[in-house]
């Protein structure tokens, strides 16, 4: 019987990076708690075998697996039904969920059904004297709260990309295929269609990210940022106003309700530094801000700043980078 259970799902076809981030967290928690760990693996079809291998390769020694045709992209209610069946058998004391599209809905609902303690959107988990502690951003990233989890069972959701993927640690798992009857007609929600946006520019993995904000004034300014990003092998992102206004795809949005980035270098252009954005960008190791307003809050978190018009500064940067790279 494993006390810590990771919700690993392959609803989108493959086991996501965030499932492995949870495995890393579970390994660390288990070292402090000694409860044993397992994974609940949800999905459908041939890729489940592949996902099983990946989990074993990262040290998971017990896997409860549900294969069901309804366990596909975004099907929260089917996933919830499958997890309830697994947890009736496994009775975990600690459940880890990634706060992704499905997990954001799953974690509170599981906690409610299990009468469990709930922590959402954790960015760090630890163990002190046999008790789990969690840290999370509050007030748009302006403050960090430390929470102590005093009850079990507990459901903890972890912000995707907040934790590293653990080193491989090959293991052989006991695998239990759990049969789950899911009545499609009884599910309160159903995903009718999945609309994928243009292939992600690798924003979350890029070592250099250039972000544009309201100060870009419209979609055209982003062309300049794309040109600079291409020269630097970087990716382009945006704060909320350009995404809301439709200047850029919503998948480019960096912030509390967008993506969390942790590049070596983040160049924020025309971004005032609203807390909502900073929450997603504060993991950057070096931040450069370019803004016409030297009083903009973004400069309070930037290491290097240029107070000026991006329409002059960015073309100058493009020219100098081209010189530098001999292009």
């Amino acid at each position: 019987m494993a006390g810590i259970c990771v919700v690993a799902h392959a609803l989108d076809g493959t086991l996501g990076r965030s499932s492995l981030e949870l495995v890393g967290a579970a390994r660390a928690l288990d070292a402090g708690l000694g409860l044993g760990m397992a994974a609940a693996l949800l999905g459908h079809g041939s890729h489940l075998a592949e996902a099983t291998d990946v989990l074993q390769h990262h040290g998971v020694t017990a896997i409860y697996r549900v294969d069901h045709p309804l366990l596909t992209a975004g099907q929260t209610d089917a996933a919830l039904a499958a997890l309830e069946s697994i947890f009736q058998r496994a009775a975990p004391q600690v459940v880890l969920v990634s706060a992704d599209t499905v997990g954001r809905e799953l974690a509170p609902r599981l906690a409610h059904r299990m009468a469990a303690a709930l922590v959402t959107e954790a960015v760090e988990l630890g163990v002190e004297d046999g008790v789990i502690t969690a840290r999370r951003q509050v007030y748009g990233g302006r403050a960090i709260a430390t929470l102590v989890v005093t009850k079990r069972p507990a459901v903890l959701s972890v912000k995707p990309r907040a934790l590293d993927v653990p080193e491989p640690k090959p293991a052989t798992a006991t695998i239990e295929d759990v049969a789950v009857a899911i009545d499609a007609g009884a599910l309160p929600t159903r995903v009718r269609e999945v609309l994928r946006e243009q292939a992600d520019v690798g924003l979350e993995d890029a070592q250099i990210v250039i972000g544009g904000g309201r100060g870009m004034g419209g979609p055209d300014g982003f062309k300049l940022l794309e040109e600079l990003a291409a020269l630097l092998d970087g990716a382009v992102g945006a704060s909320r106003p350009p995404a809301d206004a439709g200047w850029v795809p919503i998948s480019w949005q960096i912030g509390q309700t967008g993506k969390t980035i942790r590049p070596a270098l983040y160049i924020a252009v025309g971004i005032s530094g609203a807390t909502q954005h900073i929450a997603g960008a504060s993991g950057a190791r070096t931040i450069v801000a370019i803004n016409h307003d030297p009083e903009a809050p973004i400069f309070s978190m930037a290491h290097l700043g240029i107070a000026g018009d991006y329409r002059e500064v960015v073309p100058a940067l493009i020219a100098k980078v081209k010189e530098l790279k001999g292009r």
Partner: protein
């Protein structure tokens, strides 16, 4: 359709840094004297409700939980934007309660409002950002749940909801009753009330219910199972170094600094 929109009043999230402080006794943000606003996405949720009302007719009730004495303009703004009535659950601790603590109160208030097909919330509060209340509320009142939705339309006796996903969007069919949490997009930017709406809002009904009247036992710390140990404001160690000069000089100097830092 009967729609309840949950609105939370928070300290303006764009408050200047110097006015932001944590009260060590409550482990929450100091609210006294700070401007209060409707939490960012809650206004988008209200806009979605009003669009459903414009499209097919709906009765929209604004519901808020907080100290009645410090209500500010949230309720009046909601009524001026077009909500038909408002309910204030008067609870001095309201804004500081964690999701699991407050969901029982919200569920009781929703039941007391009585008629509801759809409950709309913002996808997260600007202060504690748990993103937990909408799914918890859905469980508590036995409703369907969709979060991070940007568009909602009535379809086939239920809803068709556009949900933001990690790599695009999902079109989700949901049964009623449902709790839907709203994220912003260009289609749900909150409307600005006109002067005549602001005047008319003064005649709209506002009910105040003391939280004690709802008969919800408070969740003890043991049952909650989560204790807030501390809330700290991280010290920013970065001191911004401004690169001066004409744009070409600034560009050269910046790139040199980035090369020194081995970032290029």
């Amino acid at each position: 359709m009967d729609i309840i929109v949950c609105l939370k009043q928070v300290v303006d999230p764009e408050l200047p840094v110097r006015d932001f402080a944590i009260d060590p006794s409550t482990k929450r943000q100091v609210r006294d004297g700070r401007p209060l606003v409707i939490s960012t996405y809650d206004e988008n949720a209200l806009e979605v409700a009003l669009q459903l009302k414009d499209a097919g007719g709906a009765r929209v009730t604004a519901l808020t939980l907080g100290p009645q004495s410090a209500l500010g303009d949230a309720v009046r703004l909601a009524l001026a934007m077009g909500a038909d009535e408002a309910v204030v659950v008067d609870d001095p601790r309201g804004p500081d309660l964690l999701g699991i603590e407050k969901v029982g109160i919200l569920a009781a208030a929703v039941r007391r409002v009585g008629r509801f097909d759809l409950v709309l919330c913002g996808c997260e509060s600007a202060d504690w950002v748990e993103r937990a209340v909408p799914p918890l509320l859905a469980e508590a009142i036995g409703a369907a749940c969709v979060t991070f939705a940007t568009r909602v339309e009535a379809a086939d006796g239920g809803l068709l909801v556009r949900r933001m996903a990690d790599d695009g969007f999902h079109q989700v069919e949901a049964r009623l009753p449902a709790v839907v949490a709203i994220a912003s997009d260009e289609g749900n930017r909150p409307r600005l009330p006109k002067v005549k709406d602001i005047v008319a809002a003064k005649r709209k009904p506002v009910q105040t219910w003391p939280v004690g009247d709802l008969g919800v036992p408070s969740v003890g710390e043991g049952a909650l199972g989560v204790e807030v140990r501390e809330v700290v404001v991280p010290q920013r160690t970065a001191r911004c170094e401004f690169v001066e000069g004409e744009p070409a000089e600034q560009a050269s100097a910046l790139l040199r600094r980035l090369q020194d830092l081995k970032l290029l």
